[in-house]
């Protein structure tokens, strides 16, 4: 236990072990006050059934991200506090930060975007651009859990750093759509817009920057407050009347192809070029394999005004309209400027892993069957046989559990049921002497007798 690295990399049990030596050998815990086992508000465990689903989701997402040429990146949970500060506006107060033992100001990861920027800036001489990375990892926000928000939740980001080609935007979006398809989410809408459209629109109305901001902010609210609500805001903010009229026309376009066509014909001819860019981008998305029916041009989507610089998008679930977006992102060019003089055009998307999990948890959990076979423990005398059989089945790629104690059948079946195991293998005296095995389908309650030598191939055929 003297090797310096052992404590850092060996298991926790080793560490506990050493330290327990220094405590009283007598079992003093017996008389100790028990500590209430509980989790913090806004934090949750994912028990076996849920975690099986989450890991399955993660694996499927990883496969797709890599299929599109994105590499994984892992960054630490703790960062110097100054790396995170100045990035999140008033939400900065939601960052978990503290002084560590060395009196350093540290903070827990609040998102995956700032660590990405830090990583790229720190390694800019080694990185080959464009840098395509994905990262799936928890982040922490001291949000109000009363509102149903978790304080620890998984983020799942795909970004391309260092390319201004629309191919990069299309790559990110096609990848995210393929990722959703891969986890069985097929009914979604990819709602697209472009910051450049807003710029062109505001220029066409000859608005100054401040007015432009007001207009864009108001348009972004139309789904919640309607066109009249938007108009009321603009009147209140003293936007010139002709501009308000234009905004009404703009919002009356609605969404989809007709809205795209209407930009130049019904709002301003100066928007024709932007509309063409959007059409080309949509064509590119289709070539990339994004299904035509999921693509929706939505001129009301604004997203971060100081952040995004090109295409912006939100993904919503068709069957869960109240769920909000399960993915969002866009093109942004200032990510790195906070850490470096290098300016790198970038585009990225965050998938709302937690929300997708919530949407899918029910249907997945009930069907999840991690273990294929439970070998029952009928007679301790046959333990060797049970163990050998378990070992043989595992070598063939089956997930096998073995009941440790020779308990009553009832108890063993209940165990199988609790773990959603579909088959039980029974070898008692009768079977042993006949050289057979009883295989019980725990769903149908039917069973078959199979020769001992054929058990492995029986289950292989079921796999």
């Amino acid at each position: 236990m003297q090797d310096s690295r052992l404590r850092g990399n060996d298991g926790g049990k080793a560490r506990i072990a050493v330290r327990f030596q220094e405590r009283n050998f007598m079992n003093e815990q017996e008389n100790k006050v028990k500590i209430e086992a509980r989790t913090l508000k806004g934090f949750r465990d994912y028990g076996p059934a849920a975690q099986v689903v989450r890991q399955e989701m993660m694996r499927k997402l990883e496969v797709v991200f890599e299929r599109f040429g994105f590499f994984p990146l892992s960054t630490p949970v703790l960062e110097y506090k100054d790396i995170l500060m100045g990035k999140y506006g008033e939400d900065e107060k939601l960052v978990y930060s503290f002084k560590d033992n060395g009196d350093r100001d540290v903070a827990m990861r609040y998102d995956l975007t700032v660590p990405l920027a830090r990583y790229v800036a720190q390694n800019q001489n080694e990185i080959t651009l464009p840098f395509k990375r994905y990262q799936m990892a928890p982040v922490w926000r001291a949000d109000n859990p009363q509102k149903g928000r978790l304080r620890e939740f998984m983020q799942c980001d795909v970004d391309v750093i260092g390319s201004d080609s629309p191919l990069a935007d299309a790559d990110v979006l096609a990848c995210v759509c393929a990722a959703l398809d891969a986890i069985g989410v097929t009914k979604y809408q990819l709602r697209l817009n472009s910051r450049i459209l807003f710029t062109a629109f505001c220029e066409s109305m000859q608005l100054n920057q401040e007015q432009s901001l007001e207009v864009i902010r108001a348009i972004d609210k139309v789904k919640k407050i309607g066109i009249d609500g938007v108009t009321a805001i603009l009147v209140e903010r003293q936007i010139p009347e002709p501009a308000i009229g234009q905004v009404k026309k703009y919002l009356a376009l609605g969404e989809g192809d007709s809205a795209l066509d209407g930009l130049a014909t019904q709002v301003s001819v100066s928007l024709a070029l932007v509309a063409d860019t959007m059409r080309n981008f949509i064509a590119l998305l289709k070539q990339q394999g994004v299904r035509e029916e999921v693509i929706v041009f939505d001129p009301s989507i604004a997203r971060g005004l100081d952040y995004y610089t090109g295409f912006v998008f939100e993904i919503t679930l068709t069957d869960y309209p109240d769920f909000g977006s399960v993915g969002s992102g866009g093109r942004y060019d200032d990510l790195l400027s906070q850490f470096s003089n290098q300016k790198l055009p970038s585009v990225g998307c965050s998938i709302g892993f937690g929300r997708l999990f919530e949407a899918m948890e029910d249907q997945w959990v009930t069907s999840a069957s991690l273990i294929d076979v439970l070998i029952l423990n009928v007679d301790p005398a046959y333990t060797g046989l049970y163990v050998l059989l378990a070992s043989a089945l595992r070598k063939e790629g089956l997930n096998v559990d073995l009941y440790y104690q020779s308990a009553k059948f009832d108890k063993q079946f209940k165990y199988a049921e609790a773990k959603n195991i579909p088959y039980a293998v029974i070898i008692g005296e009768e079977e042993k002497s006949a050289g057979t095995v009883k295989i019980k389908n725990l769903q149908t309650r039917e069973h078959v007798e199979v020769k001992m030598a054929d058990v492995v191939s029986y289950f292989k055929s079921k796999k």
Copy 2:
């Protein structure tokens, strides 16, 4: 953006986006002092090449854990501080703890064992026993990074809660050995001992509890200080001379089968029963598929005196003797008693993920090739073709990257080289008009011409 859950589950970009609106629309970052991009001491990024290897390791380990019937569990990074306190002796000072925004004392996960105990106690009415779980997740220790220890590192634990059957011990060990085999670590030793052997041995010498502790602690040090060193300690601690003589005999046994045989014949006949138990356990391990040559009985291994209650074990790499153990664990019965009156016999093992990664990083990273094909961007006019081909290959399960800009060949080849991509697909004017595709093997620098229609099947055959 009003949906309450959106902020909690949608991507970080959404959050940033909203907040950036409230900042100055003018790009004030231009003139800002840049923040130095750096990581905290004891923390590190895992860049793409390393992270590919780590994820590959994790996936392989997960498959094996599930093959042995272990389910995944995920617990939060932050726990109430009192959950962690009183568990790690003087190492408690290494726990990252702080007051959160709600003035709660919270602490970052220090190992995976205490959260497991907390989880089981908290859910004891819902959990079906025995509870078999694995967890792979980072933990944090404010250790001295000068000694090569990371402050954030991955733990990887497999435990069975609620069974006193040796089958459970064998299950854990067979699982861990199969896990090592699965990640290509085959040259290791599984060094076994039993706390019950120490108890029997100390009883045979008629030592009291305090003396027993001294003797066991000294024996545990024999690999570092030799038999003479152990003797010197025991003399200093005034252990009776006959006992010291017995300890010498015990240590002179060495290790392996001969040592096991010698327990009864050369040390004390009262150890015959314990020796038999060990023999039966070793037989069980072999039945479970553990290779005979890796199993070594090692009577000097003690591990945590107040923690372990039965079999104890350490796994060492044969080719890396200085590396220390890459896995350790044993049977322990008091895990839950800190949170609940329930007493559950348990057994578990921690795999030293970080150390195994270090041992294997070199050999894996050089061979890792995540992306199968790079489609070169020769002529922007053919972009649609490139994109369609990328999409077709991805649908067939190939990992495909597409160069976004039509840069010089040299630059594109360098990109492929940096990402370790084995093949490049070239479609220029010549190929386009001939209806062919040039496929270049980037290692051999050779190329073949393939009909456009045959590209997909060409790569499928390479897969």
